[in-house]
Symmetry: C2
């Protein structure tokens, strides 16, 4: 079953089989009894969970949901619903007490007096103001670093959430002797759309060589409810910030640009296939180069 | 000033200059105002701190000491003393409340009723028993994974400490817009003697291309008090476990074996230069190959 779309060819059946084999092989190689997944309610973690169940059986798979003060309640509800639909064991562990203790929430005062939609509007306004103050694309500033106190406060604020999550996921995976299976995909990886040593780490990353649009195709093939495929992807770290707010284009377009650049296609051809403007292609090129340091490990002198 | 010892040649002055340049360049490239170091009281973090001060000036360097319930009080005292001797700003932030909250200390009950030497004797006895139960070298079992509940409990117990530390160090480095400078060296890196995504991560790792014995040479060159160079290196994660308990040989010997293997020398020649037995060389080879997965990131199928 081959799907060809622009620069991206996917043999969906073969890919799913390969991923399942990959998960099984690593569980054996690293002598683990099963797999553990941090379930956010987003599509990537749902697909990863389903693939782990296909590979190891539901009795050898556990999900952990790790919400905090600013998490979208809908996401947690979705995560629970998905785990229940697969009859897989899951635990909810709130990380807010750790973030309170570290003083993270003091950076942005508690906002439980306001509705989520008011919070979102506040964030959007704040983001616009900040972008204007820096005089730069906020996402690129986030990647390359910037000497702006307000921006740095924001980075510290959202990144520690994922780092605490990965610390806890490693902890339980070691305790159970399970593989900690990460959920990052290739579109996020290449554009730096992950937290370095946060959601960017795990024992294995089954989706890391798949573009987001390919993850969608696999989700359909695995009969995952269309609701999960169609809802807007979001890192769920700050209310009101979705993937497309930062990436500023659909994954459909982004993935074609990434695949075109990977194949060394001309800008002209990439533009024709993806429908992207020259400026959009340039911005993606910047995201790739400015996130290079996030993918390099360790950075040492030679 | 060239030091030649067996397979290892070091131009100490040139190396120190190169590291200082490297730190400066990355601070500029990533637009950071200074450098942040997690200070343990061990030599590697002391050397790293001193190098950062040489590179950026003491006003642009901060140290954070992150002790927990099981930390050696001597190490904390040494860390403070060292920071004070350089007149560099430092903060002490205890991570025990987080570990309590996560249930980590419930894995091994609090032992404040016992003196540290009794604790140490208990750990040594426990380690021997565990090694016998597994029927294997405990360090190699720790690297390659093992389906033994007691071992896995131990792994979960000690690894989360460093992961929480690195999460906090990233947090403050982002808040101050400082580089988080890691302290791992090449001997640890090649033998897997680090916590994956714990002390194995940072923004930059200035010592990562230096063997431990080279770090010692640099420490002398930087006029670091001999006390710090001579004290037994220890990860300070579990009372009574030092580097040499796990590595089972001196860094002098280990480094010669590592350098010999790196240069594809015959086992015979490595034995002659390092004074190691065939069995010791074989064990180091195992450490390198079994820790391969700790240095690979991300692990994805292709």
């Amino acid at each position: 079953m081959i799907k060809k779309e622009g620069f991206i060819n996917t043999d969906i059946e073969k890919t799913v089989k390969a991923i399942i084999d990959f998960i099984r092989r690593y569980a054996i190689d690293l002598k683990r009894n099963g797999a553990l997944i941090g379930l956010s309610g987003g599509l990537d973690s749902c697909v990863t969970l389903k693939l782990c169940i296909e590979a190891l059986g539901r009795d050898r798979v556990r999900a952990i949901i790790l919400p905090e003060r600013d998490s979208d309640p809908t996401q947690m509800r979705d995560a629970k619903k998905f785990a229940e639909s697969l009859s897989v064991k899951y635990t909810v562990k709130r990380i807010s007490p750790i973030l309170w203790w570290l003083g993270v929430y003091r950076l942005y005062p508690p906002s439980f007096l306001f509705s989520r939609s008011v919070q979102k509007r506040f964030v959007i306004k704040h983001r616009k103001k900040l972008s204007k103050a820096i005089g730069k694309d906020l996402y690129l500033a986030n990647l390359e670093g910037e000497n702006n106190q307000e921006l740095n406060k924001g980075l510290a604020f959202y990144r520690i959430k994922h780092r605490i999550r990965s610390s806890i996921l490693f902890y339980y995976s070691e305790l159970y002797n399970y593989l900690f299976v990460g959920t990052s995909n290739k579109s996020e990886w290449l554009t730096g759309f992950f937290v370095k040593y946060g959601d960017g780490v795990a024992d294995i990353m089954p989706l890391i060589s798949l573009f987001k649009t390919q993850v969608n195709d696999i989700a359909s093939y695995l009969n995952i409810d269309a609701y999960f495929i169609e809802k807007a992807p979001s890192p769920d770290l700050i209310p009101g910030i979705t993937d497309s707010d930062m990436l500023k284009m659909s994954y459909g377009k982004l993935d074609q640009i990434l695949a075109g650049l990977e194949r060394n296609m001309t800008e002209d051809k990439i533009g024709r296939i993806s429908g992207a403007t020259e400026e959009e292609i340039e911005r993606v090129r910047s995201m790739i180069s400015k996130s290079e340091n996030l993918r390099t490990w360790p950075i040492g002198f030679n």
